[in-house]
Symmetry: C2
Subunit: 428 residues, 2 copies
């Protein structure tokens, strides 16, 4: 630990940040000021984004510029994007040119892209340099982990190869980088999604993924820890969407009543109108219900089973698309397989409900219920499976294809199919 | 690339493995045999687990022992656990003692634990050794990344500190490890969950997390890439459970019809019996339905809105518990907040449906529908939020608390509440 005065402060910056987060704003500024600059920047970067912004507004300009200069490039850019315009202007004026240009470059990338989670400050040399040159460069620039774990070989700014720190250490001092490097490194474009960055890092077990533009110029790197954090955030967003909650990034522990209300009420209310279709369907068949009131007994059963089948299909496919297990081109093969699985499930379910149908309403009702069940499970599974592909095709997020939204639609269809089949078989 | 004969083989081992996976088994063995040993072990380790097992049964004992010896310790143990007993026995006999003991130690850990995803083979020395000694040790043992990025300082096998590769490189040659090391490193017990390992690695941005037993003995490390893979697998499992699919690990692209049928039919069928309660509830109130058939119009609307509210609450909480944003002790504070949010949502929904109630059935029906909506959204949200805590309390997986299972239960409650309120207000 760099600072004796805090005595019992936690050893790790992230823990100290969590502890500070529980104190009053002035107290936090006070304690931060007593830390060494390195430690202060490290702890500050771990504070919740909103808290960082609040403190940035309160501290004097010099103190802010100091901390921002000491932060990692990506954390710095993230904070910058959250500041008010005038604060941004003052900060840029207070920073040295290298940091000012660095922020400008990083902060320009749209949220959710690889460029938005990349960092700069990775060491590089030409292919003619030796392993010893590279190690000396690393010692001079001393980048943070995991930027330190990859050395980038450039030719006039363009990335031509990557050398692992491991290979630098194992090589003889005079080995030229051109021989040590991977000449076909995995890279990503800054406009690609951060999810794609996470997938590449996971697929190739990379500590860091170089970000290059169309011309091959090295713009920065996405580190494995930032990619992992981005994947957790994206997954949480998928869970929110699948339950018709408007996505939000705040920690659930701290989210306010107003925020939760706003994020939940929208779909809750909108789906009412979706449900009116089911209601209208039922109203249309009101005479049939009066004639065969036992049909209503099966309504929750059929609607729920159908919704359940849709939900299963859709969730499996949404998740597989998200993890990259399945690609858009796989739809044809998968729909054939889904047909077989859904037919088997539909028939099984029909067999399960038929006895109940006989018991509650007789043989004819059993036929209606069994047939409806088969049709609904079949259609539901096929639609549930296809909807994520359709949404993806039109560049919409497939995650909304599972959960209450799609089951509300399937309820309307279910009501129509059920009472239509009933009309057909039990007579108009 | 190590092998000229394959000509156009992909540069990265994982891509070559994906390519091989599409070929016939004998063809795969043939191509593997033509690779250098290092490359062969690397590519083999990236093949799908089932394929590894198939090939292991087909290749001769010497070839298998060679590959297994060349694999990383954790991949080796994973393969071992999948082999048939007699194949395991033969393999152990063919391995050299170091590999044999290593497998025995690693393979003994239960699935889903930190011990089950850890690897061994990390370099270590005592606190009196210098930075140069450590770098020499790393050069000699040449562990794979990311094991190379952390040097462990031991005292009679017990972990006393961790030095980053960065610090080793930046330090002067004669700096004692005791001064460079983090003397209070973050560690994990082998029996802790792999999810916990992933959370620690994410929280502290570690390339590798040391695994120590109760006595402080260093058993191995969990690398960040394995932790990330484990988190993706755990999350996929959560998605499966939330949609009442029995969890499975196979890639959805390759899963067979039989597997998908088995994993989906169980809950689909079981929930039928859950839905019988809703049906029974409706049957009990059949006379009321005949008297006020417009009540049925609102049934899908109320049931779905209630299920939607439950689903929103439950999903938010399940996800927050999984990512560690929320802990068990937070339940009291959170239930108070949920009460406020749910009351606001319930009243909003009542206001939305009341006009529809007046339109379809008059003022009395509007009161029934509005009141039911408020009660259902309120109860649904509170139960949806609490169920994950309850399941967690009894050491069950909270992930089953969202989705069709819990909405089926809420349907039964919804039917009871709706028609009871109707009976109360519209008269028996």
């Amino acid at each position: 630990m760099d600072d004796i005065a805090t005595g019992s402060a936690p050893a790790h910056a992230v823990d100290e940040a969590v502890r500070l987060g529980t104190l009053g704003r002035d107290e936090i500024l006070d304690r931060l000021a007593r830390l060494s600059l390195d430690r202060r920047a490290a702890v500050f970067a771990y504070l919740a984004p909103r808290l960082q912004v609040e403190l940035a507004q309160r501290m004097d300009r010099g103190a802010l510029a100091e901390i921002v200069t000491g932060m990692d490039a990506d954390d710095r850019a993230d904070l910058f994007n959250l500041l008010a315009d005038d604060t941004q202007g003052r900060l840029l004026a207070d920073l040295a040119p290298p940091e000012r240009e660095d922020i400008a470059r990083l902060a320009a990338h749209a949220e959710g892209t690889a460029g938005s989670i990349m960092t700069t400050g990775c060491a590089s040399l030409g292919a003619g340099a030796t392993a010893l040159d590279a190690l000396d460069a690393l010692r001079r620039e001393a980048p943070e982990e995991p930027a330190m774990h990859r050395f980038h070989v450039l030719d006039a700014g363009r990335l031509v190869g990557v050398v692992t720190l491991r290979d630098l250490i194992l090589a003889s001092d005079d080995a030229p980088l051109g021989e040590l490097m991977d000449a076909a490194p995995v890279t990503i474009h800054p406009d690609a999604s951060r999810e794609e960055a996470g997938r590449l890092i996971a697929r190739y077990d990379l500590p860091a993924l170089p970000v290059v533009d169309e011309g091959g110029l090295l713009l920065g790197i996405v580190t494995h820890d930032d990619a992992a954090d981005a994947l957790v955030a994206e997954t949480t967003e998928d869970f929110h969407k699948s339950s018709t909650v408007l996505p939000f990034a705040e920690n659930l522990r701290q989210a306010g009543i107003g925020l939760l209300y706003r994020k939940r009420v929208v779909w809750l209310a909108l789906l009412v109108f979706g449900n009116l279709f089911s209601g209208a369907g039922i109203a249309y068949f009101e005479e049939m219900i009066l004639a065969y009131v036992s049909l209503v007994f099966f309504l929750p059963l059929l609607i729920d089973s159908s919704g359940n089948a849709v939900s299963q299909s859709a969730t499996l496919m949404v998740r597989a698309l998200a993890t990259g297990d399945v690609a858009m081109k796989d739809w044809r093969d998968l729909i054939a397989r889904e047909l077989a699985v859904a037919a088997a499930l539909g028939l099984t379910m029909a067999v399960v409900v038929a006895p109940i149908g006989i018991w509650r309403g007789g043989a004819e009702v059993a036929v209606v219920v069994g047939l409806t069940m088969t049709v609904l499970v079949l259609i539901g599974s096929l639609v549930g499976m296809s909807l994520p592909f359709l949404l993806s095709r039109f560049n919409l997020d497939p995650a909304t294809a599972s959960g209450p939204l799609v089951t509300t639609i399937s309820d309307g269809v279910g009501v129509l199919v059920y009472f239509s089949i009933a009309t057909l078989i039990l007579g108009a």
